[in-house]
Symmetry: C2
Subunit: 244 residues, 2 copies
Amino acid sequence: MPSQKAPRLEVCFSPLLLDLYDTENAIVVIIDVFRATSTIAAALHNGAKCVIPVSSVPECIALGEQIKNSITAGERDGKVAEGLQYGNSPSEYPRSFIAGKTLVLTTTNGTRLLHMVKGAAAIITGSFVNLTAVCEYLKAQNHNVLLACASWKDRFNLEDSLFAGAVIDAVAEHFDINCDSSRAALHLYQRAKGAPVIDFLKDSAHYLRLSAYGLESDMEYCATPDLHPVVPILHGNELVVYKG
Amino acid sequence: MPSQKAPRLEVCFSPLLLDLYDTENAIVVIIDVFRATSTIAAALHNGAKCVIPVSSVPECIALGEQIKNSITAGERDGKVAEGLQYGNSPSEYPRSFIAGKTLVLTTTNGTRLLHMVKGAAAIITGSFVNLTAVCEYLKAQNHNVLLACASWKDRFNLEDSLFAGAVIDAVAEHFDINCDSSRAALHLYQRAKGAPVIDFLKDSAHYLRLSAYGLESDMEYCATPDLHPVVPILHGNELVVYKG
């Protein structure tokens, strides 16, 4: 029997580079470690019915009014946005609060990227809090993968690329990888490995920015591996837990 | 006396990201290690009168016809392009051949990026062959800097970002650096440091691509620090040696 060719894995460092990649034939992993994709995993793992990512505050308010038993959430400049109920912190969504509810969430970078991806085989979201679950899912699918970093206002960021490196570190032998972004992401992860993830990120631009709002414990939460072992997958406009 | 604020240094990983940066108030360093900016440094160090970077083969031919004592050069797919005289290899331009001549050079990634930069305080070119000269120049200017990677068809590449990291490693204390691209580039260089640069690049996409054309010795040349200690600077449409 001829050996099967391994599927391809690539990394995209910025939404502005997305057109360089073939998303139509890939599973796309949306990565927005600080904090959208960490919060999505937390809410779903804690029993949220689904998470609906939306681009704007008015859209968030409108959907919240339409959907029964829903929560509207989103921040601008580190504060709950006017007209919304809750923020972007994963710690705001314990089971006692979010179970059975629909979370309508607006974030800037992660949501925008998610909506930019067209015609993917599947769209899932990843962060350190669901690292192993994402890796196991990708290994099981045996399909091309694009790890898509939300970045910060289209600029390369350290936390999303570090997460891409962590995924590659775990799944590399299952994929054909010939992409310098992937190599660089893996190098970053190999630099960080062996110490808590957050230590590597403490001089990143985003850490410094969010620290100014007192959000250090949030970021430590987002950088903790496997707190929320679920795979959020997009069905229509809803992120739900992948059931296999 | 109040201490002066250090100038800013940033790294841009792809021409597609260039608009995110303020090039108008910066010295822009064009980086195309394999091989445009290595060849430019070699030709100028070996006495070329100037190097004129052009975008297309027809433009290269036309300028070659207009300019006395000029050489036209450029490759497509690893071979001298039809209608041109020489290739992109830095080793093709020894002093015995190039001294006193004008080199009209067309390359895909590096030349395109150079022409995209508008209104910079200065445009210079860098590669490992002129690493220390570039660093000394940047330290002496005391001005904002953008290290601009030519990349490969707009995709992040390892060799140009590694060079950016090598520059940062040498000049960091003279600049204010709060940019995750710079942090990542420095991490890459710290991974590579202590061994020949080329060892780190041997599994890069560009190395693998150019190896298929038998260009391994060219790439080793391009990755050798300080073979050609000059700073090529753009005056009008000509790159000439910076004289201080």
